[in-house]
Structures are given as C-alpha cells and as structure tokens.
Amino acid sequence: MKHSFRDTLITVFFTVVMAVIVAATLVVIFRYSPEEKIITLEEGWTVQLEDGEELRDVKIKDLPDRVEGDLKRGEKLVLSIGLPEETAGYSTPTIFESSHHNIAKAYLDDKLIFSEFDGDIEKAGFISRKDNYIDLSGVKPGDEFRLEYVLTETVTEPEMEAPKFGNYLDLQRSFLIDNVYFLFAGLFLIVFGLFFMIVSLILQPLFPEIIGQLTSSAISMIFGVYIITSTRVSPIFFHSGHTGDVEYVAFYLIAPFMYYLFSQIHEVKLKKLYSGLSILTAVLVVIFIALHFADVVHMNTTLPLYYVLITVMTIVLLVYDARDIKERKYSANNVIQMAGPTLFCIAFICCITYSLFKLVVLRSVVNDYVFMTIFTTGCLAFALSRLMVYFIYLSETDQRREEFNALTHKVYHDALTDAFNRNSYAEAIRDMNEGNENYGILSIRMEGLSNIVNVKGHGKSDEWLRSFGKAIVINTPDNGGAFRTDADTFAIIVRDNERGPLEHVVENLNRAMRVMDYNEPEIPHVITCGIAYSDEGNRSNAAKIAELADSRRTRT
C-alpha cells in the first residue's frame, strides 16, 4: 500500500503529538521537591593526600586538577569540612556521598560514624561507583565531618561527586527522581529482554526461525543490567557486593553480542565478516574478564582498549550501513532491523565524543547525566526498533492476506479470461475420476481464432478471448466451473448429469455471440460446442467423457 506525502505528514504530526503527550504526562506526574533544602557541600574542603600534603579550601570539582600524578591502590585520601550553619534543624540529618574505586570511613568530630568493611582493601573486591547515606544524628553546625577514602584501584584522578547534606528521605528520593529515567529504562530493558527470551525459548521448538530473537533479547537484558548498575539504582532491587563486577561484565558483553546480532541480520557475505568479528571480540572480552577476576588487571583499566574495540565496531557498522543503503542492498525488513543497532551505535559514538570532550576540554571526571542519558536513549531506541519490527508485521497482516489471495487466484485462473486454467482442469478431471458424483462436460472451441490473430493481431484476438471468457464464466451454472483448456478451447464441467443446464449455457453463449457480432461485425465470432455426460461412458474416466464432448462439437 502506498501512502501520500500528506499521510506521512499526518503520521509524523500524530507521532510528535503522542510523544509530547507522553513526555508531558511523565513530567507532570514525576515532580518531587524535597521537604527540606538539600545542601551541596561543594566548597571549603580540606584534602589530605597520602604523602601528607594538605590542600585547603578545595572545591570538589577542582580536586582532579589540584591532585598531581596518579593515585595508587591502597593510598589514602582524607577530606574534611566544617558543617555550615544552615545544616541546623534537620530531623534526619544525613550526608550522601558518591565516589569511585575506594572504601570509605566517615567521622563526625573524630568519632567514627560510618565504615565500609574494616579498611582492608583485599577483602573489598572490585568496587566501581558506590553511594552511601551517612547518618549524622545529633550533628551540630560547625562539627567537623571527615571522609577517609582508601583507594581500591590506581586512578589518574579522584572521581567523586560533592557530598550532599539533607534529610535522609529527601536525599534518597531526590536520587531516585534524578535517576528515574535510567531506573525505569533499565528495568524495562531487563524485563523486555527476559520476557522475549522466555517466550522465544518456549516457542523455539515449534518455530525454529525465532531463535535469532534470543540475541536481541540478551542484548536488551545486558543494556538494562548495565544501566541500573552503573547509575547505582540497582540497590533498591537487589544488594550485591559484586555490583561493580556486574556493571563492567555487562558493558564488556555488548560488543560480541552486537557483532553476533549483525551477523544474524545480514546475509551471506557480511555474515562471515560479522561472525568473525563476534568471535574475535568474544575472545578478547573473555580474556579481559578472566584477567579481571584473576585480579591481574581490572576491567576499569582495560576500558580504553574496549572503547577502541567498540568504536571500531561502530565505524564498521556505520560504513557498511551507509554503503548498503546507498547500493539499496537492504530489504525493508533489514532496514528496520538494522535501525536499532545503528541508532545505538550512533548514540555510543556521541557518548565517546562527549567523554573525550569532557576529559580534554573541560578537564572533568565528575559524573554527570549526559553520557548515561545518551547511552540509555540509544538502548531504548534499540528496543523500540525491535518492537517496531513486530508492529510492522502486525499491521501488514491484512495486506499480506489480500496479496496471498490474489496470488492463489492467479495459480488457478487463466490470466486473460479469468476462467480456471489448464492445471485446474487437470485437477477437476482427476476429481471427477475419483469421486462418485455424476457430471456433464461442455466442450467449446473458438473457431478461426488463429486467423484473427494473423489478420487483426494479438490485440484483437486477446479482446475477443477476454469477452468470450467473461461470457463463459458468467453463464456457468452454480454447480460447475469454466476452464480454458487450450489457446482456443474451453470446457464447462457441471456436477450433475441432469440434461438441460448445459444446453441452456450453449443457448446463452450463442446469444452472446450475436451481441458480439453486432458490436464488431468485422470479426467472425464463431464457436462450436459439444456436450457429454458421465452416464454416457465410464464415469471414472472423465478424460474419455471430455473426448466424447470434443468429438460432438458442432456449430450451433
């Protein structure tokens, strides 16, 4: 079905309206303002480094610039601040701290109020980003708050956000609201992938072709797991000391799974290329993961290598995509299927570009939402494209059925006259032979057709065939069928041997011939007809009965 430009415009308009309604509804509903003010403790920190050097009046965002050289695993970083006057009067005073690759202890006026583990980094395992809510019950303005970090990884710069002060519930709910996009998108992707995977595994024995669905289901789940673990919203669902491991493993699995998906979508030539790349990346990723768990090199260290890997993947995909679309090698189905991975890859390139810009130009390693927002949007586009594929199948069901019916019609009918074709005739003869019913056969021949072809050309002869075919089909009794048995011969078979109806058909055809003679006097419309019934010979040999009808053909 083809659509006009106007239709497309209307569709785009309604899609935009729908998107605006959905977005506006979500923005209106998800509004949260803390009951008491949340104070960001950005400035006025005193930082003590491992070598005893003390940095005064430090802003958290400037910390990477103030600290020179690498910070090694096992080194200590101590940050302290006098709590400002405005921290007075809170019912559940709490500090929210969020940092990377360390274990922390917190002191209030030298009294230990919070500790992660016992300070032994060997027991801590791999720690990525972690968030802590430190209870400050009984705090007074002016009290000194001290955070002691022991680094669990060697890093070039300390990665932490400015701690926030407020009531516990306000801090916790603000965090969830700030991350609600990631939380909901992550949960959606996990369940979406999981459900499709379960359904695919159940249906797979019946329909082997849906096995390919498993790869995209797995990718959806990997995306979801990565999003909720890297944004640290996962603790509200499950608590695990291995969240950092899960986050990095999920991230590292994206490349091999994605290559494998490309190999499933593409046919023949690119299939081999992508399968090869899938195996290669899988081997590399397994090595990275093995090194990580053997504590030789952690996955955060091998991240630049992985970025290179995934960037190459993206470039390969985009180059081949552009080439294939240009050469129109894709089927419409392929285009939709590739749209998801392509959108994700574009989003990922944007993420990497932004990270480089942030690192080189802004000189900042502070967590922000830009990277994850682009990444998550790319992941959702991936899932949405999967849904789109199915919706398109769904919407084309009726159209497909109509086309099928038309094709089936063509299989059994003669294209010129619309009577049943020769194959159908052979089938009908077979049916008559095998059945117990009586039948009658009317054999008709268009006399002089070849002469008309020779003199008037195929145009005129086709015209006559069409009109005659129509006359035969119209006059065929309800219990019978009209067949074109050869270039100039037709037959009508009725499932009854009652005399009369076929003779009536002959009369009607003669009448039709006279009308044709009147309309086209230059063409001699002549037919010969013969009738035979099953009771005139062997009923199980319809071909013989047909021959009998042929032999009886006389001009009427």
Binding site: V17, G138, L187, T215, P235, I236, V249, Y393, L394, D398
Partner: protein, 566 residues
C-alpha cells in the same frame, strides 16, 4: 560449522548469560540490602482513643474499628522502650487521612493537613515519623484523622526501625510490582509512539491503541496499588488518583479492543460499551475535579458495568463452537497470534476482578484492607504482556514464512512451466505496473512458426527457442510466453541500437539452430519503445509492437507462399 550448530549458538549464549547473572546474584548471598538494625512491628501496648473516647486496647492486627466519617479521629499512644536505634523512625501507611505525631506532646511530624477540609481527595500516604536521638522512654502519640468517608478500616501496621532500613524494607517488599509495573507502563508508552504509524498503514490497528491502553492501566494500577508513585511524586493524591483512574481504564480499554477485534453484532455492542465507558469516565472525572464525588468513592457503577460487559464476550466464545465470530484466518499461526492476546486480556481481567472483589471483601467484611494484595492482577498483567509478545513473535514467524511461500508462489504463478520463461500472468502484471512508471522501456513481440507446416512446433523446439531468446536478449529482459508460439520481451532502459543487435542475434541463432537440427523454425518480430508515444499506456506500446510483428509475419508468409488473408 554445520547449520544445527550455528542455530544453537544463541541458545547457548542465552543460557550462559542466565547462568552468569545467576552466579552474580548467588555470590551476593542476600539480594535484599543488609538490615543494619532490627525492624520491630509495634502491634501491642497502644492506648487508643476514638474521637477522644478511650476504647479497649487490643493488638492492632486483631482490632476491629468503626468505619470513620470525615474528621473522625483515632489517637494512638505508645511508650517507646527497648534498645535505641540510631536514625530511628516509625513507618506506616495512612489511608486518606491527616496524620500528626507527637513525642511527649511535642509535634514531630505532620502530614495531609491541607487535604482535610479542602474538599480535595486525600491520598494514601507513606508516613516515616523520624524519632530524635533520645526517644527511648518517651510516649509517641499518633493522631489519624479521616479526611474521607470510610477512609480506612484498619490501623497500622506500625514498624519501628532505622529509617534507611525501613525505606529499603518498603522497597524490597515491592520488588516485583515495581519491576513489572514499570515494565508494563513503559511497554505501553512505547506502543503509543508507534501507533499513529500503524494506524496509517492499517486502520484496524486502532485495536493496538486500546491494547496498549490496557497494558498502561495494568502497569499503573500495579505501581499505584503498592504506593510506588509515592516514592517519585511529592503529592500523595497523585498515587491514589492514578490507582482509581487505572481501574476505570481496564474495562474501557478492553471494550475498545473487542470493538475492533470482534465482528458483526458483537463489535457493535462493544462500540456502545466503549462509548458508555468513556462517557462514564468523563462524568467521573468531572465529578472528581469539581470535588462533588471523588473517583475513589465511585467504583460501584464501574464494577457493575464490568460484569455486564463481560457477558457478550462470554456468549460469543460459547457460540464459537457453532459459529465463528472471529475473522476467518486461513493460517493457524495467524489465528493463534490473534487469539492469544485476547486470552491474555481475559486472564488479566479475570484475575484483576478477583483481586478487586477480594479488596472490597477485605475492606468491608474482614476490615483489614492493609493486608490486601493484587498478586493475581500482577500475574495477570505479566501474562497479558507475555501474550502480546507471543503474538508479536507469531506474527513475525507468520510474516517470514508467508514471505518465503509468497516468493515461491509468485515464482510459480508467473512462470511458464514448459519453458521456464515468464508467462501471461507476469506479462499482465508488467503491463499493469508500467501504467504509472516513468522508466523508459521497450517491448518486442516475437512469433515462432514452423516453415512449411505453419502448424505447431514440437515441445523440444519451443524449449530450444526459449533458450535462444534468453541468449539473444540482455539478462535484464523479461521474456514472457503468452501462447503456444507467442512471446513478448520487455526490456527496461535499452537503446534502439541494442535492440537491433539483439534482433540480429536472434536471427543468427535461429538460423544456426535450423542448420544444426535440420529444423524449420521461422521467427517474426516487431518492437516498439515507450519513448515513441509516451502519452499511451504499456498495452498500447505492446499493440504497436504486435502490429509491427505482423508486418514481418506477413512478409515471411509471402516468402513462404502462404496466402495472407486481408
């Protein structure tokens, strides 16, 4: 790697992934966050006053209370004892009430005072009453004032613990509704974005809009019933409003879906139901926002409608045995793809109905609404989503399979069995397709005869001639056999000179064949190009070529001495 092994890879990958994920979870020992301090339910020892009148104290979980009217107040007092918990709080859910908490007469917490007397519908609130450091030995008094008639039928449960622990406990108790409610809501919102496109392609896809609406209602209901919107939204009324709105959404969207899914009279009945449902919803919303009757107080008409609306569907399913009310599906996969979401929908509706009925029973008879769950509706919601996914997958399978058989069918329909060339059906299709095409093309009509006999050619000769045509004309040419010795060649974008070369090649090859096989094939042809008369259709170009063919045919006949009729 053979085919079977290749097909197994995704399955193996999926299993490995599930095992890896499982190992991580197992390695975490406990999926729930570790509880730093014990959480204690405060069930015993309360002194209770109802509208300043003291009533007999019992454990709260066993206590039956009078249904409150607006402004009726329950006042509960308890002396806090035991071991001190840092960052302590008391948590409970308040149902459409104003809550004030005092510690030794000092106000420490207040919630919902603006809803009382404003006329607005009060919400269901999560109350975390913070307790200062020295709370042990002090008396906690909680005043709960009903802001709506019949606001609650039970008190508590009240939990004492560390505030972080209490919050995590609240969330971990709701892990599954949170996960699945979020999924269903987003699943529906995603569908809404695609629906305008679907409806443009196929008007019948409006049923997908109602299906998405139902999924949205299921997801929202799940999140709202378990007070999860209260986490993300400041205003507690939003949670309660969404809860009741989603209940109204369920029958309305189902009627809408069935209106498009069913055929004939039943479809008309559901059209009427959909109209009534949406009019009722509109009326309920007007009454709600004008604070005349709140949506939480007007569920009964909806329940009644629900029961009535199910009847035609049940009757039609009963009739299925004798009469098929669904559109006839020739493909069983298509039929399953269409039936499964309807079944999922029915299961969800049935389960939700049981849960709602139980909720009413718990509230009005057992008088313990706090313990009511919607676990069946949650399972039904999941089955609904899964049934849609099964349907999507089946549609995909059906599409891909029919695409394959369509290609095969198309090939068989458009192929002349004897020669393997295209047939008349293909020719007719090409003529039709070229009606609107602006691409230049040429048509060559070819007539094969037999010298001397002017009769029929043998099958062998026809097949050989088909090969000659294939060799003589460019590969892109579409060669159709219309009748016995009648052929048409359609070539896109071809120059006149190329056509002459092809014709010359045809003559040469026929002559070569005649010489080699001592045969008497006689070929005549005529060509016409679309550029010769662009205003005319493809069929006219064909007739022009046919006309030229006959010029040549008559010339050949004259050469052979065959009389040509005028």
């Amino acid at each position: 790697m053979n085919k079977i092994k290749t097909e197994m890879i995704p399955g193996i990958m999926a299993v490995i992934l599930i095992i890896i994920a499982g190992l991580f979870f197992v390695a975490g020992n406990d999926l729930n966050p570790p509880q730093r301090y014990p959480i204690k339910e405060l069930d015993d020892g309360w002194a209770i006053r109802y509208n300043s009148r003291e009533i007999k104290a019992e454990p709260l979980s066993k206590m039956e209370i009078a249904t409150p009217s607006v402004a009726d107040q329950y006042s509960l007092s308890l002396k806090l004892t035991g071991k001190k918990i840092p960052g302590a709080a008391v948590y409970f859910r308040a149902f459409q009430s104003k809550v004030e908490a005092y510690l030794d007469g000092v106000l420490v917490y207040s919630q919902g005072s603006d809803a009382l007397g404003s006329g607005r519908m009060p919400g269901r609130t999560l109350c975390f009453i913070p307790l200062p450091d020295g709370y042990i030995g002090k008396t906690l008094r909680i005043d709960i004032t009903a802001a709506e008639k019949g606001a609650f039928t039970s008190l508590g449960p009240f939990l004492l613990g560390n505030q972080q622990d209490l919050f995590h406990n609240f969330l971990s108790e709701r892990q599954l509704p949170h996960l699945f409610g979020t999924f269903l809501t987003l699943f529906a919102l995603f569908q809404f974005l695609v629906i305008p496109y679907l409806v443009m392609k196929n008007k019948n896809m409006m049923k997908q809009f109602f299906s998405a609406l139902l999924v949205l209602a299921a997801g929202t209901y799940m999140l709202a019933f378990y007070n999860l919107f209260n986490i993300y939204v400041s205003n507690p009324e939003v949670n309660t409003f969404l809860e009741f709105l989603s209940i109204y959404g369920i029958p309305s969207s189902m009627s809408g879906y069935l209106m498009f899914e069913m055929k004939g009279r039943i479809s008309k009945i559901y059209k009427l139901f959909t109209l009534i449902d949406f009019l009722l919803l509109g009326a309920v919303l007007v009454l709600h926002f004008t604070n005349i009757i709140h949506i939480s107080q007007s569920l009964m008409p909806m329940y009644a409608l629900c029961v009535i609306e199910v009847i035609p569907f049940v009757v039609s399913v009963g009739q299925q045995v004798r009469v098929k009310n669904y559109r006839v599906r020739e493909d069983p996969i298509d039929e399953a793809a269409e039936m499964i979401p309807v079944m999922g929908m029915m299961v969800f509706a049935g389960f939700s109905f049981i849960d709602m009925a139980y909720f009413l029973y718990a509230k009005n008879v057992l008088r313990d609404e706090a313990d009511a769950t919607i676990i069946l509706a949650a399972i039904g919601g999941m089955l609904l989503a899964m049934s849609q996914m099964v349907s999507f997958l089946l549609q995909g399978v059906s599409f891909l399979r029919s695409e394959k058989s369509r290609r095969e069918l198309l090939e068989s329909v458009h192929t002349d069995k004897e020669t393997g060339l295209s047939n008349r059906a293909r020719f007719e299709q090409e003529m039709k397709d070229r009606r609107t095409s602006k691409e230049p093309y040429s048509i060559v009509c070819v007539h094969l005869d037999h010298k001397g006999k002017a009769g029929k050619n043998t099958d062998k000769e026809i097949t050989a001639f088909a090969d000659i045509l294939r060799e003589a004309f460019p590969k892109k040419a579409i060669i159709c056999r219309l009748e016995e010795g009648e052929f048409v060649v359609i070539v896109d974008r071809i120059y006149e000179q190329e056509l002459s070369v092809a014709a010359g090649s045809l003559d040469e090859r026929v002559a070569e064949y005649n010489k080699k096989h001592k045969a008497g094939l006689q070929v005549s042809y005529g060509a016409a190009m679309s550029s010769e008369d662009t205003a005319r259709g493809a069929y006219d170009i064909y007739l022009l070529a046919d006309n030229r063919l006959f010029g040549m045919l008559h010339q050949n006949d004259r050469k052979r001495g065959v009389p040509v009729e005028a």
